[in-house]
C-alpha cells in the first residue's frame, strides 16, 4: 500500500529531505531499495530498465506529486518553489527513483509551457499523464534552415475550413522524436508577417498520420535525435497552444525553461568531477601534480556552478526563470567540455584504444562533451542573451527582423 506524504510539507529544508527520503524508503519496491542501499548499480539499472516495473513506479511517484514538485497541487504537483523542489529531486536521485533523462522535454519544457499557456482542457488532458510518466515528449523546434535563428522556421500550418490545421515541413535534431508520444511543435502560420509574429505553437500527437521521424546517427555513434518529416499532417485546433500567430511568446517560455534546466545538479554534492577524481585514483593519474591541479580546479568550478544554481533557484522562488539562466547554461557547457577532455587524459593511453568490454566511460564523455554548447541554444547565442538582457548592451543587428517572412533572404 502506498504511504502518502504529509499534506503539510515541513518548512525546514532538512526535514523536507527527510520526509521525502522516508517516503521513498516506504514506497520503493523492496528489491529496488535494497539494491540502492547496497550500492548495487547493475541491479538498479536492470530494475529501471524493466518497462513495466518502471511504469508502475513512476505512477506511484507521480501520484505523490514528487515527479513534478514545482507544479501546483491541482495539477499533480506539490506547489514548491524551485529551491525546495531541488531538495526533492536530490533525494530522488540519491535513491535512483527519479524519472529518466528522456523525460527532460516532458517534465522541464512541456509541463511548464502548458501550465502557462494551456487551456483547462489541455491541462487536464496532458499534465496528469506527464506527472505519472505515461507520455514521452519531444521538441520539434529546429529546422534545416532555422537553428539559432529559430524564428526563421518555415514549417507551414494552414487552417482549413473545418478549423483543423494542415501542416507540411521538416524538423531536425529532435531528441527521442522516434519514441515520443507528443511533440512541442512550432509552425509558420502567417508568412506575410515579420518572422516573430507569424508563428503558432501546437501540441502534436506523434501518432498522427504524416508524422515521420527518422533517427540520425550522432557523432557519439548513438541515434537519439531525428529528422522529422511532416507531410499533410492534420492537427485539430484544440491542440493549438496559445493564440494564433503568437507562438513566439509561447516558445520563449519553453526556451527559458530549457536554459534554466540545463545547468547541472541543483545541490552542492557529487558531480561529474567527483567521478573523474575517482577514476584518476584508479588509473594512477592522480599522482601527476598537473592533472591533480586541473582536477581540483574542475571540481571547484563544478561546485561553484552548483552553488550558483541553488542561489538562482532561491532567488527565483516560484517565479518564471529569467535570462540569468543563460549564465548557468553557458557555464555548464564550458565545464562539460573541460571535463570531457580531462577525462581522456586520466586514461593511460588517452582513451584512444581499448580492449573489447573495457571501453572507458571517458570515451562517451569525450564524444558527448559538445552537447551543451550546441543543444538548447549555442554558447554564442547564450553570450548574446547575457550581453543584451543581463548587461543591457545593444541587440545584434538583424536586418530581417521587420521584413515579412516570405520576403526574407534564404541560405
Amino acid at each position: 500500500m502506498t504511504v502518502t506524504l504529509p499534506v503539510e510539507l515541513p518548512a525546514d529544508d532538512a526535514e523536507l529531505a527527510d520526509a521525502v527520503a522516508s517516503w521513498l524508503r516506504q514506497n520503493l519496491p523492496a528489491d529496488w531499495l535494497a539494491a540502492v542501499e547496497a550500492g548495487d548499480r547493475a541491479t538498479v539499472e536492470r530494475i529501471r530498465a524493466d518497462r513495466d516495473r518502471a511504469a508502475a513506479w513512476f505512477d506511484v511517484l507521480g501520484e505523490a506529486g514528487l515527479a513534478t514538485p514545482t507544479w501546483p497541487r491541482e495539477h499533480g504537483g506539490l506547489g514548491l518553489t524551485a529551491d525546495r523542489a531541488s531538495i526533492v529531486s536530490e533525494q530522488l536521485v540519491r535513491y535512483s527513483a527519479e524519472r529518466p533523462n528522456q523525460d527532460f522535454v516532458g517534465l522541464a519544457l512541456a509541463g511548464p509551457t502548458i501550465l502557462e499557456w494551456g487551456t483547462d482542457e489541455q491541462k487536464a488532458a496532458r499534465l496528469p499523464a506527464l506527472a505519472r510518466g505515461r507520455e514521452l515528449w519531444c521538441q520539434l523546434f529546429s529546422e534545416p534552415g532555422a537553428g539559432s535563428d529559430l524564428a526563421a522556421l518555415s514549417t507551414r500550418a494552414v487552417q482549413q475550413e473545418d478549423g483543423n490545421w494542415l501542416v507540411n515541413g521538416q524538423k531536425v535534431w529532435n531528441s527521442y522524436a522516434h519514441l515520443a508520444d507528443f511533440g512541442l511543435l512550432m509552425t509558420r502560420t502567417d508568412p506575410a508577417a515579420p518572422k516573430h509574429r507569424g508563428i503558432t505553437y501546437f501540441l502534436l500527437d506523434m501518432r498522427t498520420p504524416g508524422v515521420e521521424p527518422r533517427p540520425l546517427k550522432q557523432m557519439t555513434g548513438d541515434a537519439e535525435f531525428n529528422e522529422t518529416f511532416l507531410t499533410d499532417v492534420v492537427i485539430p485546433d484544440s491542440a493549438r497552444l496559445g493564440p494564433v500567430n503568437q507562438g513566439w511568446a509561447v516558445a520563449i517560455t519553453t526556451l527559458m525553461q530549457e536554459r534554466n534546466g540545463l545547468s547541472g545538479r541543483p545541490a552542492v554534492g557529487p558531480g561529474a568531477s567527483d567521478a573523474l577524481v575517482a577514476r584518476a585514483v584508479a588509473t594512477g593519474a592522480w599522482r601527476d601534480p598537473l592533472l591533480r591541479d586541473r582536477l581540483v580546479s574542475a571540481f571547484v568550478e563544478e561546485r561553484s556552478l552548483q552553488m550558483t544554481t541553488i542561489r538562482s533557484f532561491v532567488a527565483a522562488g516560484s517565479g518564471a526563470p529569467t535570462a540569468e539562466g543563460s549564465i548557468r547554461k553557458l557555464a555548464h557547457a564550458t565545464l562539460s567540455e573541460k571535463l570531457g577532455v580531462l577525462g581522456t587524459e586520466l586514461e593511460p593511453d588517452g582513451a584512444i584504444a581499448w580492449d573489447a568490454h573495457e571501453r572507458p566511460a571517458a570515451v562517451e564523455q569525450f564524444l558527448a562533451m559538445k552537447t551543451y554548447s550546441i543543444a538548447g541554444g549555442t554558447s554564442e547565442i547564450q553570450r548574446n542573451i547575457i550581453a543584451e538582457r543581463v548587461l543591457g548592451l545593444p541587440k545584434d543587428p538583424d536586418p530581417e527582423r521587420h521584413t515579412p517572412f516570405q520576403e526574407r533572404s534564404r541560405g
Binding site: D13, V296, S297, S304, L330, T371, I386, L391
Partner: protein, 423 residues
C-alpha cells in the same frame, strides 16, 4: 595483468600508495562567529539594509577616487573614516561577540561589508585588523587576550595584523622559521605583512619550544624593526617586520598556533573572496557602461560580438564567484563545509578577479591602459590578492584531501548518476 592495468603501470607507476578513503567527520568547532541560521542564499531585510548603509557611506566618503588618492600619496588610510566606521556603524566589531565589545553579527554580515569595500577598493588596516588579526585572536581561544585586545579593535582605537609568511609566500608550518625562546622573545623576519609598518599590534606565528604558537607583539616593542615595502597594490600597504629577541606575549595553548592560523586564514579567505566579488561587480558595471556609450565604426562598441561575448564571460565569472563566496559565508566557521567553501571561493574568485581585471582593461582600449583610469587599480588589487593568503594553486593542493573524500563517497550513496538530456 590486463593490458589496461599494464598501461596504468607504465604511465603513472604502481597503484599502491593513493587510496580513496571516506572522510572522517570529526569537526573542530571554532568559536569565531555566531552561527548562521538563515537558509542558504535567503537574504533578509537586515542584510539588505546593512549593504545599503555601507554602500552609501563608502560612496560618500571612500569612492574609488579616494582609494586612488590615498594610494598615490602613499598614505596608509583615512584615519577619520576608520574611526567613523567603528563609531558610527560599528563595522570593526560587527561580527565580534558582545562580550568582547562587538555586535554579535555573523560572518555573512561581514562578507556583505567586505563586498562593498571591494567595490571601491577600500584598503588600509581594515582587512588585516578585522579579517586576519581578530579571527586569529578569537581562534586562539585565549579569553584573557581577547578581552584585552578585541574591544579596542571593535571601537577602532587599535589596528592589528597577522604575520605568518616569511618571504616564500607559502602558508605552511614548515615555512615558519621565526623562533620564540622560552621567555617568549621572538627572533626572525616576516614579509610581506599587510599594514606591517603601522599596525598597533602584530599577531605573529612563531616556532616555540612546543611547536608553533601565536604571539602578540606591541608596536613599540624592543628589537622590533619595521620597514615599508614597495607595493603593487597601493591601497594596502605592506611591510617587512624583523624581530631580534623581541618581547612578545604568547596567546592560546602552546603549540596550537597553526590551527588558529588556519582558522583565521579560512575566515580571511571568505572575506577576501567577497571583496573580490565587489571588485568584479564594479569592473563589469564599468565596462558594460563603457560598451553602451563608446562608439567606433559608427556603432556602439557594445554591439560588436567580440565585446559582447567577452563581457558575457565576465558576467558568468562574476556570478559564479558570488555564489562561491557567499555559499562559504553561509557555512558555519569551524565546520568542514566552511573550510571547503573557503578554499573553493579563494581558488575560484582569485583567478576570476584577475581575468576580470585584464578584460576590463582590454575592453576600454587605450584609456584602460592609462594611469588615470581605474582599471589598473583593480588589476593590481587582483594580483596582490592572489598571493596574500597563499596562491590559488596552493589552495587547490590543500583541497585535495576533501576532493578525494568526496570521490570516495560517490559510489555507495548515489547509485546512478543523473544528467539532463538536452532537447
Amino acid at each position: 595483468m590486463s593490458r589496461v592495468d599494464f598501461l596504468f603501470m607504465c604511465r603513472w607507476g604502481p597503484l599502491s600508495d593513493v587510496r580513496l578513503t571516506p572522510p572522517s567527520h570529526s569537526l573542530t568547532l571554532c568559536p569565531v562567529y555566531a552561527e548562521q541560521r538563515d537558509p542558504e542564499f535567503g537574504w533578509t531585510g537586515e542584510h539588505r539594509q546593512l549593504r545599503e548603509t555601507v554602500r552609501g557611506l563608502l560612496a560618500e566618503r571612500a569612492p574609488v577616487s579616494r582609494s586612488r588618492e590615498l594610494a598615490e600619496s602613499g598614505a596608509r588610510h583615512d584615519a577619520a573614516l576608520y574611526s567613523a566606521l567603528a563609531e558610527q556603524v560599528g563595522l570593526q566589531g560587527l561580527a565580534l561577540p558582545e562580550r568582547f565589545g562587538g555586535y554579535g553579527g555573523t560572518l555573512l554580515d561581514l562578507a556583505i561589508v567586505a563586498e562593498e569595500m571591494g567595490r571601491v577598493l577600500y584598503g588600509g588596516p581594515f582587512f588585516p585588523t578585522v579579517a586576519l588579526a581578530a579571527p586569529a585572536l578569537m581562534a586562539s581561544a585565549d579569553e584573557e587576550a581577547c578581552a584585552e585586545y578585541l574591544p579596542r579593535i571593535a571601537d577602532g582605537s587599535v589596528t592589528a595584523t597577522l604575520a605568518v609568511v616569511e618571504g616564500s609566500g607559502v602558508w605552511s608550518p614548515d615555512d615558519v622559521l621565526t623562533v620564540a625562546d622560552a621567555g617568549g622573545r621572538l627572533t626572525g623576519a616576516k614579509f610581506p605583512v599587510l599594514d606591517g609598518v603601522d599596525a598597533d599590534l602584530l599577531v605573529v606565528a612563531a616556532r616555540g619550544p612546543e611547536g608553533i604558537s601565536l604571539y602578540v607583539v606591541e608596536g613599540g616593542a624592543e628589537g622590533l624593526q619595521r620597514s615599508a615595502l614597495e607595493i603593487l597594490d597601493g591601497t594596502r600597504r605592506m611591510g617587512r617586520v624583523t624581530f631580534d629577541a623581541t618581547p612578545a606575549r604568547r596567546i592560546g595553548a602552546p603549540g596550537h598556533g597553526w590551527a588558529a592560523v588556519t582558522q583565521a586564514r579560512e575566515v580571511a579567505s571568505v572575506l577576501m573572496a567577497a571583496e573580490q566579488v565587489g571588485a568584479m561587480a564594479a569592473c563589469v558595471e564599468l565596462t558594460a557602461e563603457y560598451a553602451r556609450t563608446r562608439r567606433q565604426f559608427g556603432r556602439l562598441i557594445g554591439s560588436f560580438q567580440g565585446v559582447k561575448h567577452r563581457l558575457a564571460d565576465m558576467a558568468v565569472r562574476l556570478e559564479m564567484s558570488r555564489s562561491a563566496a557567499y555559499w562559504a559565508a553561509w557555512q558555519d566557521p569551524g565546520t568542514e563545509e566552511f573550510a571547503f567553501g573557503a578554499g573553493t571561493a579563494r581558488s575560484f574568485c582569485s583567478e576570476a578577479c584577475l581575468q576580470t581585471g585584464q578584460d576590463t582593461i582590454q575592453l576600454h582600449g587605450g584609456i584602460g591602459f592609462t594611469w588615470e583610469h581605474d582599471a589598473h587599480l583593480y588589476l593590481r588589487r587582483a594580483r596582490a590578492d592572489m598571493t596574500v593568503l597563499g596562491t590559488p594553486a596552493q589552495v587547490r593542493a590543500e583541497l585535495e584531501t576533501t576532493v578525494l573524500a568526496a570521490a570516495a563517497e560517490l559510489e555507495p550513496t548515489v547509485a546512478t548518476h543523473s544528467i539532463e538530456v538536452p532537447a
